[in-house]
Assembly symmetry: C2
Homo-oligomer: 401 residues x 2
Amino acid sequence: MKKTILIAAAMLFGLSASAQQALWGGQGVVSPEINADGTVTFRYVAPKAVKVQVTGDFLPTQKVTMKMGDREMTQEMPGVADLKENKGVWEYTTPSPVAPEMYTYTFTVDGKSGLIDQNNMWVNRDVSTLASVLLIGGGHAEDYLIKDVPHGTVSKVWYDSPSAGFDRRLTVYTPAGYEKNIKTKYPVLYVLHGIGGDEDAWVTQGRATQILDNLIAEGKAKPMIVVFTNGNISEEAAPLENSTGYVNPTMGLPKTMEGSFETSFPEVVKFIDSNYRTIAKRDSRAICGLSMGGFHSLYISLNNPDMFKYVGLFSAAIGTGSEKNPSPIYQDMDAKLAKQFAKSPYYFIAIGDSDFLYAANTEYRKKLDAAGYKYEYMETDGGHIWRNWRKYLDYFAQKLF
Amino acid sequence: MKKTILIAAAMLFGLSASAQQALWGGQGVVSPEINADGTVTFRYVAPKAVKVQVTGDFLPTQKVTMKMGDREMTQEMPGVADLKENKGVWEYTTPSPVAPEMYTYTFTVDGKSGLIDQNNMWVNRDVSTLASVLLIGGGHAEDYLIKDVPHGTVSKVWYDSPSAGFDRRLTVYTPAGYEKNIKTKYPVLYVLHGIGGDEDAWVTQGRATQILDNLIAEGKAKPMIVVFTNGNISEEAAPLENSTGYVNPTMGLPKTMEGSFETSFPEVVKFIDSNYRTIAKRDSRAICGLSMGGFHSLYISLNNPDMFKYVGLFSAAIGTGSEKNPSPIYQDMDAKLAKQFAKSPYYFIAIGDSDFLYAANTEYRKKLDAAGYKYEYMETDGGHIWRNWRKYLDYFAQKLF
C-alpha cells in the first residue's frame, strides 16, 4: 500500500518513467557527502560488484612524465582509491579534509571505468566525457560559489558569421543592472576556451559567470560584458546545440589553430558592439583564453593592436607548431609585437609550474623580456587544469578597465 | 610510441584527467547508432557483465494500473530489452524503425539500473535522475530539431521577488531580431513547468526554444518573448544554480501548490514588462503550463482575467485536492470563471487519453461546458509525457497573438 501511494505521488506531476524508477527504486544513499570534519564520503550501490574504485582530482595526484617529440612533459594524473562494501553499498571516506575546490570524479566497477555517481546529478562534460562534480566551498572556491549577490544575465546568442558562412553561437554575460541602466555603456571582456571546449566551457567548468558576479558585487571588478566565443570555427555551436546533427564532439576539429578563428574574430567584436551597449574602444576591450584560447588571444590581440588593450594568456598553447601555419595571422610576429607593445597593453601571462606548456611559455617570456616588453606574470602550482584557469580569470578580471 | 603521441595530443589542450582517460581508453563503440533502415543500435561495453538491458520510452510500453485514493490510474511504463554480448560489447538493435521522437533510456547491468550510455554525452536531468537521450528526426520531432533558421536568444535572468524575499531565476527567450529591431515591441508567452521541473525543464526536455525558433521562421507563430518561470517559490533557481547549496532536488518542494506562486505571479509580469520591450496588454499576454504548471496557469489566469487573454492547460494537475487549500487564489471559482470567460479568452485544454489526470480534466471540461464557456480541446494518445507537452506547446503557440 505504501508503495502504491509513493508511485502515485511520483506520477502525479510529470515525471518521466526513469525518474519514477529512481524515486521508488530509492537507492537511499547520499553521495558525495561532505562530513562535518571536512572529509568527504563517496558511495556507490553495487551489490554484485567485486571491486569498486573512485578516481578524481581530489585524490593525491601522480606525476607522469611523457615525451612529446623531443620534449619531456610532466602531467598530473588523478589518484585512485578503493571503496569498501557494506550490504551492497560501497563506500570511501577521504582520510583527511578535502581542500576547497571544484573537482570531478568517476567510479570504476570491476574494471568498467568512467561511471558517474548516480546519487549526484551534477555532471560536467569535457569533450565527450561526463564526470561527476564535487564542490567544496572555502578558499579560492569562494570566488565562484553562487552567492546571495546580484546576478548577471547569461545568454545564448547567435551571430551571423560571414567568414564561417553560417550563424554561430556565443555565450554572453551582461552584469546585474544591465537591463535597468539603459543609458550605461559597458566595457567588454572576451574569454576563449581550449581545444576541447566550446562556448559553454568557461561557464560550466570555468565558473566564469559566478566569478564575475562575485567580483562585481564586492567592487573588485568593474561591471562588464563578458563574451564567450566558440573557437572551433567549423562548428556552429556546442555539441547538441547546432543544426548539423547528433554527434559526439571530437578533439581538434578542423580550423581550430590555423588562423581562421583569429581572422574572423573582428566580426564577433562588431556583432557585440552593434547589439550591446558597449564602450567600443581599445581601452574598454580585453581578451583572454586558456590553452588554445590563450594561443588565440595572443594572435588576435597581436593582429589587432587597436582593438584590445588587455590581454590574458592562461597556459597558452604556444610552441606547438601551429605558428608555422602559412596564415598571415602568424607572420611577422616581431614587427607586430613591437607595434602592440608600443601601445602599452596590460599583458598577463599565467601558467602552472607543472604545466606541459611551461617550457614553451618560458621561451615566450624570454622573447618578451629580451625586447623589453612589459607584462605581468603569475605562476601557480599544478598543471594544465581548470583549478588554475579559474584563478587566473579571477585575477585578470580585477585588473581590467 | 603511438600511445605516447596520443596521450600527448590529448594532453595538449586543456583536457581533464577523466577526458584523457576516455580518449585513450577508447571504448571505440558508437551508441546509440541510428541505422540506415531506421532501426537503432544501442551498445554498452561491459566485458565482465552477465546481463545487460536497456530500458527507455522508445520500446513498446506496458500499461500499469494503480490506485490513487479511490481513483484508478493507468500509466505507461517504458519497456525493457536484453542486449547480447560479442567480445565484451553488449548490443541491442530495435526490431523495427524507431518513430521520430525525443526519447530517454538507461542501461541495467547485472541488476544495477539507471546507468547512462557512456558513449552518448547527451543526458537529460529529470528531478534528480539522469538519463541518456535519443533523438530521431522526422514527423513531430521536426518541430523541435535545431535547424538552419534564425535563432532566438535564450537567457538566464534573475528578478527580485518581494514575495519570496530573494532573487529568483527565469529563462527568457527573445526571438531572432529582438536585439536589432530596437523599436519593436513583442507579445509575451509565459510557460510553466510541472512539479518535478524548474525554469530549465521546458528548454531541456520541452525543446521550447527550438519549437519557437522553427514556428517563427516558418511564419506559423508571431515573434514573441517567452518566459519560463520556476514554480517552486521556495527555490531561487534550478538545482546547482542557486546560493542555497549543493543539494539534489526533491519532489514536491514547499509552497508549490498552495497559492504562493500564483499569488506572486504578477511580480514576474511586472519585471518582464519593465525590462523587455513588451506589449504590456492582456491581448498580448499568454500563459500555459504542463501538469502543475497547467494548474498554476488555470488559477493565475482565473485570478488575473485582465492580464491574460490566452490560456493553455496541458495535462493540468486539477482535481488533486490542492484546490482545497485556504489560499484566496482557490476561492470563488465559479464567480471568477464567469468574469474570466466574459472577456472571451482563448482557452485551450489538452491531455493524453491515457493520462492519469484524464478523468479530472474531463470533469473540469464538463463544468465549463455546463456554463457554456468556450474552449478548444485537444486529445492525443499517450499519457503524462513530454512527447505530448511538446506537441501541445507547438499547437498553442500558433494560436497566439
